[in-house]
Symmetry: C2
Subunit: 317 residues, 2 copies
């Protein structure tokens, strides 16, 4: 990838994340190709609509492909699928990845980039940690509510060199980015928010404000964060003093926000438990650190997720 | 209290526990007086109906009082209120307790008998740990589904002496009892079941079979039990080897069973979190033992219990 030329992107997924950022990159002048599944025919006919405080957009025509179509080579491949579909990833990515292709992974979770780098050693892997409140409200139709910043974290020095071009492409589309030198630190910092607020929003059936303005729920979120902090330390990326209180304060100041897991739950989609909870638990356990409250949360989420889809309660009633 | 004579009982509460055991004691020939709140007028007019595999019963007339009525002295006062009403207990009990009155406490939880003994040093305190599946289906109307055994645990030697007469009164009504020498051990053994199954039945919205036949839910119940076992040990009443596996096995063999907390939750009643969770957590913490998974469960229950009654989610939406 060469800094300075007009970048081309292939975006895997036309959900809230893929649709929104793809639209912003188009607005900024990048070449953007989408790979969709159920929406391909719809988007080909009707285009892609984004409602957003940044301005509503209706992109039409849109360069959209099914995974089985021949797809032109792009500089950057953005992964914007849910991690619950990650068993499909190697097959989906294989035809798209060439020597030096940038994989920009917009998913949530831990150990994602290690897996990508191991499977595609010819690729340049960069994590893109999205702070976004948006959801898909219909085929090819995304509603962006708030936020949008991306934290970019390169997996290695080669990836580091590609950061400025990516930042420029996003900036042209009105998307703020910042850079974290340590991918592992960036992932754990994100988990410090995602682990409490995603799980609690499902189990307590409320948004961030519902958690923050209930003293007991806030205290539980804090306790979960302390467990994540201990695990991050054990993994060699301790949080700086004051990080967790500041994160809680910032959350209290946010407009009420539905974490992605709550949106998934309400929409009947499977929950991203493996990469958001099980992998961090495993990485911590490998260093001798347990996160018992986090584990309890993960178990409850996992059981409810499965029960909802298999109706265990009904089956034995 | 003299062994051998016809015992008299005053039963505080005409819910599932008070109504069912009161009925069985009546069947066995004891004198039984009930103290009711909302049901007084109804029971005076219509009596008390129990549907049960032991035989349906319709007691009429029933000796029923409001708390403010003058009430004859009884040998035994049974506490069959929810612990969520325990702030009313001293006032309710004061006119009923004389020198040597037996307080038979049928509530669930920890530290209950210590409180009673401290408030009423003239009384004889015995814990009655009920293994009962029954619920109130209307005013003065109880449905007994299964079980009914009571474990009696005396608070001291004086209480020990009253056990045979109590056992005889219950046996005459078809209620099996057994005796545990150590009240503290009996309470912790009961908590080993109550802590996981009450909480999980609410948070996972299912009965015991729903928990036992889901491998992940069963593993979580097991993990919660292990925390309770560690706390019981720290409190000086360790479980014997094999106790927890046997408890799990017995639960798997039970007919699907709705723990009382689930019935409370479904009926919109406040949950018994203080005596079932907070007191055990506090007693363990005093001995330097944490139960982090139990604490997480307690927090989630407490937040949901409060949210349901104050609609925090709605208030901030």
């Amino acid at each position: 990838m060469v800094n300075g030329h007009r970048l081309s992107f292939t975006i895997l997924g036309t959900g809230a994340v893929g649709g929104f950022y793809g639209s912003r990159l188009l607005v900024g002048g990048a070449i953007v190709r989408f790979i969709a599944r159920s929406d391909v025919a719809w988007i080909r006919t009707h285009g892609l609509r984004i409602e957003s405080p940044l301005g509503d957009r209706h992109h039409r025509p849109v360069d959209v492909y099914a995974a089985t179509d021949p797809i032109p080579t792009s500089d950057v491949v953005c992964i914007a699928l849910k991690t619950t579909e990650n068993d499909r990833l190697p097959e989906l990515l294989r035809p798209l990845i060439h020597e030096g292709t940038v994989i920009l992974n917009l998913q949530n979770g831990l150990t994602l980039e290690e897996e990508l780098a191991a499977t595609f050693p010819q690729a340049v892997v960069i994590a893109g940690l999205c702070f976004l409140c948006a959801h898909k409200i219909g085929p090819g139709h995304i509603r962006h509510l708030d936020y949008g910043r991306i934290t970019l974290a390169p997996a290695d020095a080669r990836a580091q060199a590609c950061i400025p071009a990516l930042q420029a492409a996003f900036a042209a589309g009105g998307i703020e980015t910042d850079v974290q030198e340590s991918l592992l630190a960036a992932r754990w910092r994100k988990l410090a928010w995602n682990i409490p607020f995603n799980g609690l929003s499902v189990l307590l059936d409320c948004h961030t404000a519902g958690i923050m303005f209930d003293p007991e729920a806030r205290a539980l979120a804090d306790r979960l964060m302390q467990e994540v902090a201990a695990a991050a330390s054990a993994c060699g990326v301790p949080f700086e003093p004051g990080f967790i209180p500041r994160l809680l304060e910032a959350t209290a100041r946010m407009v009420p926000y539905d974490p992605s897991m709550r949106l998934d739950f309400l929409a009947g989609r499977p929950l991203e438990i493996e990469y958001l909870y099980r992998r961090p638990l495993r990485e911590a356990a490998r260093r001798g650190v347990r996160m018992p409250a986090v584990e309890t949360l993960a178990d409850l989420l996992s059981i409810r997720d499965r029960a909802r889809r298999t109706s265990i309660s009904a089956a034995v009633a």
